[in-house]
C-alpha cells in the first residue's frame, strides 16, 4: 500500500471520527443540562411553595387585662382565652349570634392565650391596664393574607365565609393586620395549629441523633477500616467480613429500623421515640458506608509511604498512624460527612422506633421523646391544613440547607487537608 493511498483512507474516515466525537460531546452536555433543569425545577418549586412560611400574619387587638379574671390564686391557670374573646367581642360589637361569635374567636390563634399568659407572668403590673397587643392570627387568616384563599369562589367552597372575610377586611382597614418574620417557625416545637408549629423540636431531635451517630460511627468505622485494611490477615474469614460489610451498606434502611425495634426497644427496653435509639439505628446504618470509604481512602495512600516508614524501622502502628492515616484522613472525613448527611435525611428507620409521634415539647436530652427533620416533613405533608403545605416546603428548605452545609464542609475539608505526594 502506497503512502498516498493510506493518507486517502485516513482522510475519508476523519469526518466520521469527528462527527462521533461531536455527537458524544453534545450528548454529555444535554445530559448535564437535563439534570440541571430538574434540579432548578425542584428547588424553585420548593422555594415558591415555602418562602411565604417565613412570614406570618399577626392582628392587633386591644386587650383589657381584667383584674376580675386575672386575680385568682394561680395566675398561670387564669382564663386568658376569655380575655381575648372579650376583646374581640368589643372590637366587633355587631356580632351577636352564637355561631358567628365562635367564628369571630377563630380569627386569632388558640396559642395567643399562652402569649398573654407569658406576658402577665413576666409583668404582673399589666393587670388592670388596656394594651394593644399583636397576636398570632389563625392560619385561615394567614392563608387569606397570602392569597391562598380565593375570594371569588362561592362561599361554600372556601375555608372562610363572607362575614369572616369582611371582619378581616375591617381589621386591615384599621391597620390592625401585619405580616412579620416568623420567628416561631424556628423556635417552636410541633403543633396541631399550623400558625404556631415550628421545627425546633425536630431539629433538636435530629441534632441529638446525629451527635450519637457521629460519636459512635466515626471512631468505630475508622478503627474497623484501619484494622481490616492494614492489620488483618487476608483469609477466608476477612473475605466473608468484607462481603458482609458491602452487603450491609446495601440493606434498605427500614430493615435497620426493624432491627432497632427488635433489639434496642424490645430487648434492651430503651425508651421509645428517643434520639438515643434513633442515633443507634442510624449508627448501624452509617457504619458500613464509613468503613468502605475509609478503606478506599487507605488504599489510595501509595504503598511507598508505608515502605518508607517501615524501612527506617517504624512499627506497623507508627507507620499507619504517623504517615498513612494523615494522608487518608481527608477521604475518611468526606466519607463520614456524606454518611452523616445520609443519616440526617433518613426517615424510614425512625418510623419503626416510634420517632414518628406528634411531639410538642422540644427535647432536652437524648432520652426525651423526639422526632427528626425528615419525619417532621413527612408528618406535615400528611396534614390537611393548607398552611402545612408551605411549612412542609419551608422545613424541606431547612433540611436542604443543613445537607448543603454538610456537603460543603466535606468539600472544604478535603481540599484543606489534601496533601500531594
Amino acid at each position: 500500500m502506497s503512502t498516498e493511498k493510506t493518507m486517502h483512507i485516513v482522510q475519508r474516515g476523519l469526518g466520521k471520527r469527528y462527527r462521533q466525537e461531536k455527537i458524544f460531546k453534545l450528548m454529555g452536555l444535554s445530559a448535564i443540562l437535563f439534570s440541571l433543569a430538574f434540579l432548578v425545577f425542584l428547588f424553585s418549586s420548593i422555594f415558591l411553595n415555602g418562602y411565604k412560611a417565613f412570614y406570618q400574619t399577626a392582628v392587633s387587638i386591644d386587650i383589657f387585662f381584667d383584674p376580675a379574671v386575672l386575680e385568682v390564686k394561680d395566675p398561670a391557670s387564669a382564663n386568658y382565652n376569655g380575655l381575648i374573646k372579650e376583646s374581640l367581642r368589643n372590637a366587633f360589637p355587631e356580632v351577636k349570634k352564637r355561631k358567628q361569635k365562635k367564628n369571630l374567636y377563630g380569627l386569632v390563634s388558640t396559642s395567643a392565650s399562652f402569649h398573654l399568659r407569658d406576658m402577665v407572668l413576666a409583668d404582673p403590673g399589666l393587670v388592670g391596664q388596656t394594651k394593644t397587643i399583636w397576636l398570632l392570627a389563625d392560619d385561615d387568616v394567614d392563608m387569606l393574607m397570602k392569597s391562598y384563599i380565593d375570594r371569588d369562589l362561592p362561599q361554600a367552597d372556601r375555608r372562610m365565609n363572607d362575614l369572616e372575610i369582611s371582619w378581616v377586611d375591617k381589621l386591615i382597614a384599621e391597620g390592625r393586620v401585619t405580616s412579620r418574620f416568623n420567628i416561631g417557625f424556628f423556635t417552636n416545637g410541633d403543633s396541631r395549629e399550623p400558625e404556631s408549629a415550628g421545627i425546633m423540636g425536630a431539629a433538636m431531635g435530629s441534632m441529638y441523633m446525629l451527635a450519637i451517630t457521629l460519636a459512635l460511627a466515626f471512631p468505630i468505622g475508622i478503627g474497623a477500616a484501619i484494622y481490616l485494611e492494614e492489620f488483618a490477615v487476608k483469609n477466608r474469614l476477612t473475605d466473608i467480613i468484607e462481603v458482609n460489610i458491602n452487603n450491609l451498606a446495601a440493606v434498605p434502611s427500614i430493615v435497620f429500623g426493624l432491627l432497632g425495634l427488635a433489639v434496642f426497644l424490645n430487648f434492651f427496653e430503651l425508651p421509645r421515640s428517643a434520639p438515643l435509639v434513633g442515633g443507634l439505628v442510624l449508627f448501624l446504618m452509617t457504619l458500613p458506608t464509613i468503613i468502605i470509604t475509609g478503606r478506599v481512602a487507605l488504599q489510595s495512600v501509595p504503598p511507598s509511604i508505608r515502605e518508607a516508614a517501615l524501612g527506617i524501622g517504624a512499627s506497623k502502628m507508627q507507620a499507619v498512624f504517623h504517615h498513612v492515616l494523615p494522608l487518608a484522613m481527608p477521604g475518611m472525613l468526606t466519607g463520614t460527612i456524606i454518611g452523616m448527611a445520609r443519616a440526617l435525611g433518613e426517615s424510614a428507620p425512625l418510623l419503626m422506633i416510634g420517632m414518628v409521634a406528634f411531639i410538642v415539647d422540644i427535647p432536652t436530652g437524648i432520652t426525651d421523646p423526639a422526632t427528626a427533620l425528615p419525619v417532621q416533613i413527612y408528618l406535615w405533608a400528611d396534614s390537611p391544613e393548607r398552611a402545612f403545605v408551605e411549612r412542609t416546603s419551608a422545613a424541606i428548605m431547612v433540611l436542604l440547607t443543613f445537607l448543603i452545609l454538610m456537603n460543603g464542609t466535606a468539600v472544604y475539608l478535603r481540599s484543606k487537608f489534601e496533601r500531594r505526594w
Binding site: E307, L310, I312, A314, S315, W421
Partner: protein, 290 residues
Amino acid sequence: MLQTLSSTTPPVIESGNQTKTRARVSRDDRNTAGHPFVDKPRMSCRDVNVYYGDKKAINSVSIDIAENEVLAMIGPSGCGKSTFLRCLNRMNDTIAICRVDGTIKLDDQDIYDKKIDVVPLRAQVGMVFQKPNPFPKSIYENVAYGPRIHGLADAKTELDAIVERSLIKAGLWDEVKDRLDQPGTGLSGGQQQRLCIARAIAVGPEVILMDEPCSALDPIATATIEELISELKLQYTIVIVTHNMQQAARVSQRTAYFHLGDLLEVGQTDKLFTRPSHQLTEDYITGRFG
C-alpha cells in the same frame, strides 16, 4: 584476594583485556560459580528460599556480604534480586503470601529468628527504594522522623545535629540548609532520593540496602548518587540492586548475578565483568539477553 575487597579503587573494565576466556560453567548449571563467601562477613545468607504462595521466587541462595563493601546485584527483570534484597531487612514480611526459609545472619544473629524484632533490625539495616519516597512533610521532619521514633535524640539540639550530619553525609546539606521547613516532596527527583538516603542514615544503620536507587533519575542525578555511594561505603556496608551494568561496575567491589531465582555467579566486579565464569553471566553482560 578477599582482603582487597574493602579497597576503594573503582574496578575498571579494560576493553583491551577482553580476550574471550571460555566459560567454564555451562548454561544448564544452577549452582553458584565464583566466590560467594568471605572471611569475616557482615551478613551471611545460607540456602535462602523465598516463596510467593506456591511460586518459588528465590532458589537456595547462599552469599556473604563483607564489611564496608558495595555488593551489586544484577540480573534480568524478574530474576529475584529485589526480592532477595528485601529479605535482608525483612521487608518481605509486609507481603502476606511471602514465605522465607534458610538462614540470614547479621553479625551472627539470625534475623529470621522468632525472638528477633524487626523494628531494631530495620534500624540496623536501612533501605532506599527505587522511586524516591519522601514523606509529604518538611525536609527536616523527613530526616528527623527515624531518630525521633527510635528515641535517638533527647533534646532538640541533638536532633538538629543528627539531621544536619545526615544531610551532610547525603550531600544535600548545602542545597537545603535554608529551607529545611519546606516539603520534601518539592525537591527534584535526585534531591528527593538523597533525602531518602539521609533519612536512612539518620537512624545510624550498619547496612544500607538500595533497590535500583537511580532508575528514576537522570544521568546527572545518577552520577551524584553514585559518588555518594562511593563515600558512604567507607562507613556502611551497601547492597545495591541495579539494572545498569555500568553502574554496577562503577560503584561496587563485588557483583552477584541472579538468573530466574538462582544466584549463578558472585565475584569481584572487575573479574565478573571481564572474565565471567558462568555462560549465562557472559550472555547477560555482553547483551545477548536481558
